[in-house]
């Protein structure tokens, strides 16, 4: 399912434009991250995707159909939306009822719904009789995500899904999102954590002051220092280090670092460029790599504790 923005202008109050001509396309099955400072227009863009906001001008197309022609419930069947604050979403007295809520609202087949809820309860490890309001913040966020996932929408939109979560909860939430994407779901995510973006997104769209200022494959965008500076963004530390190396040793570093397409590859490239073994780490890893396992780049994952907890560079 594709999402297409064509010269979209949007505002909450007609006098203050928030989006000023936004163009982009998210293709079926892509994992796209939106980055930008607060007030750049990211959340407004997300609200346009699921029809909570209609464009003042231009078109937002979901699978070729303008959102202005679709009812909210029709859009809800196509686009699942995870809000930043799970407490806005949770409204039932038990976890089971919460997971069934979407099916009831959309008047879907309840036999199928019960089966799906059983699957999700097992997958997420919930107790279906728990009171959602008594769960901790991370579990409530997981429940909010689960209540979207259970509906099997072809697109999910995540508005800062890791806000307020501790590291382990982040890993859990992001692991689930990665799995959904691998199963073919189109994922659109707003995120301030550039390392999460670097670890997960295939493509990045940079927004600033209501405009898309850059878009492209994640590492192409993250290496573009000029764009990031213009949008007041700070790249992941290893990218910054690699950019510094590119200046110090243009030939060697450029060749190695320029070809890296994951943070792990970039760490390996930096290690190689500075002649310090095969791995340098300056970050905790969100990527769900088993301790001791090798990833595609042949990098051995840290045993247990991320570098930040061992007095690493971050």
């Amino acid at each position: 399912m594709t999402i297409e923005f064509r010269d979209v202008h949007a505002s909450y109050d007609a006098t203050i434009p928030i989006l000023r001509g936004v163009d982009f396309t998210v293709n079926d099955g892509e994992f796209v991250a939106f980055v930008g400072t607060n007030g750049a227009g990211k959340s407004t863009t997300m609200r346009l995707v699921n029809g909570l906001l209609k464009p003042d001008a231009g078109e937002v197309l979901i699978d070729g159909i303008p959102t202005t022609q679709l009812k909210t419930s029709e859009l809800a069947r196509r686009v699942g939306f995870l809000f930043q604050n799970p407490d806005s979403q949770i409204c039932c007295n038990t976890v089971r009822d919460e997971l069934l809520f979407g099916f009831r609202a959309l008047k879907m087949d309840m036999d199928h719904a019960e089966r799906r809820v059983d699957e999700i309860v097992a997958e997420f490890g919930f107790n279906p009789d728990d009171d959602p309001f008594l769960l901790n913040r991370g579990t409530r966020q997981l429940l909010a995500l689960a209540s979207i996932v259970v509906l099997e929408t072809p697109v999910i939109v995540l508005d800062e899904p890791t806000t307020g979560l501790d590291f382990r909860e982040c890993v859990k939430v992001l692991g689930l999102i990665r799995r959904l994407h691998e199963q073919g779901t189109t994922v659109v995510m707003v995120c301030h954590d550039m390392e999460v973006v670097a670890d997960f997104a295939e493509r990045v769209i940079v927004m600033h002051d209501g405009l898309v200022v850059d878009q492209g494959p994640t590492f192409e965008v993250l290496r573009n220092r000029r764009t990031l500076e213009a949008a007041n963004l700070v790249p992941p530390q290893i990218v910054d280090i690699s950019l510094g190396l590119s200046i110090m040793q243009p030939g060697l570093a450029d060749t190695l670092i320029g070809s890296a397409n994951t943070l792990n590859e970039m760490e390996a490239a930096v290690a190689s460029a500075v002649g310090k073994g095969d791995h340098v780490t300056a970050r905790p890893t969100y990527a769900p790599t088993a301790p001791g396992a090798e990833d595609a780049a042949g990098i051995v994952a840290p045993a247990t504790t991320p570098a930040m907890f061992e007095g690493g560079a971050r």
């Binding site: 909210t72 809800a76 699942g80 809000f83 039932c92 007295n93 309001f133 509906l151």
Partner: protein, 256 residues
């Protein structure tokens, strides 16, 4: 964009008035509206209230308020039409009749409520909540706890309205159709949303109370506020005007 009852910055005369003077004026104005049933006088009061709103650039907010008050007063007006059989008989009912007096009573109620509400709400739009509570403590010697409770309550109204908006949007995104069906369907859909609103309200209120405690809330006294709230000539004039209006309303009721 400012929300319901949120302070709107400005430099108008109403903005600069003493907060206590504004509050007293608004209260006396409201009492005046309820002291007379003279429709002409009430219409004049409504025009005066609208002029006050215009003088501080709050017409947009005032019209929004008037719409909300109109819905409420319309319910009362309909009740009055069917339960106040006075004046020339217009329509017969099984339990009485609708007369010209019934219509007049209904219209009077609408105008009275509109006129009484505007200055009260304007007070909040043109006064910072902190100034209002501090001045009430300093000038009227109201215990700070009560002033703080009142100002916190008012402060939380737009917060909870925003929360409710966020909750409704979250449910809309899950397929709840608030825009279809009648009022009964809407109420049915709204009921489950009261749970998250209540939870978030209790959490916010609890956090605010703890934050106030850890910053020495109980140490606050009437004299611990730094800012002074002196009365200017215009403040006195406004209160005198309010008393004169009240006296006029009483005279009209007694002598006409």
């Amino acid at each position: 964009m400012n929300g319901f009852l949120e302070y709107v910055p400005g430099t108008s005369l109403l903005h600069r008035m003493n907060p206590v003077a504004k509050l007293l004026f608004a209260v006396l104005f409201a009492i005046t509206c309820f002291c007379t049933g003279n429709l002409v006088f009430l219409c004049a009061m409504l025009v005066f209230a609208l002029a006050l709103a215009a003088s501080c650039g709050m017409m947009k907010q005032t019209f929004g308020l008037m719409k909300a008050v109109f819905v409420f007063s319309l319910i009362l007006a309909i009740l009055l039409i069917f339960t106040t059989p006075t004046g020339d008989r217009l329509i017969d009912l099984p339990w009485g009749y609708i007369g010209t007096g019934s219509i007049l009573a209904a219209v009077t109620t609408i105008v009275r409520l509109e006129a009484a509400a505007i200055p009260l709400f304007l007070t909040f739009y043109v006064t910072k909540m902190s100034d209002l509570s501090n001045s009430v403590v300093k000038v009227l010697h109201v215990p700070y706890k009560y002033a703080f409770t009142f100002s916190s309550t008012v402060h939380f109204i737009p917060v909870f309205m925003n929360d409710m908006k966020g909750i409704m949007e979250a449910q809309t995104a899950r397929g709840v159709e608030f825009d279809v069906g009648g009022i009964v369907n809407k109420i049915r859909l709204m009921v489950p949303l009261c749970v998250p609103l209540l939870v978030s309200s209790v959490r916010k209120t609890n956090s605010a109370a703890i934050a106030a405690e850890v910053r020495g809330f109980n140490l606050r006294t009437r004299d611990s506020g730094y800012k002074q709230y002196p009365f200017a000539a215009f403040d006195v004039a406004a209160m005198v005007l309010a008393v004169l209006l009240l006296a006029a309303a009483i005279c009209i009721t007694v002598f006409l």
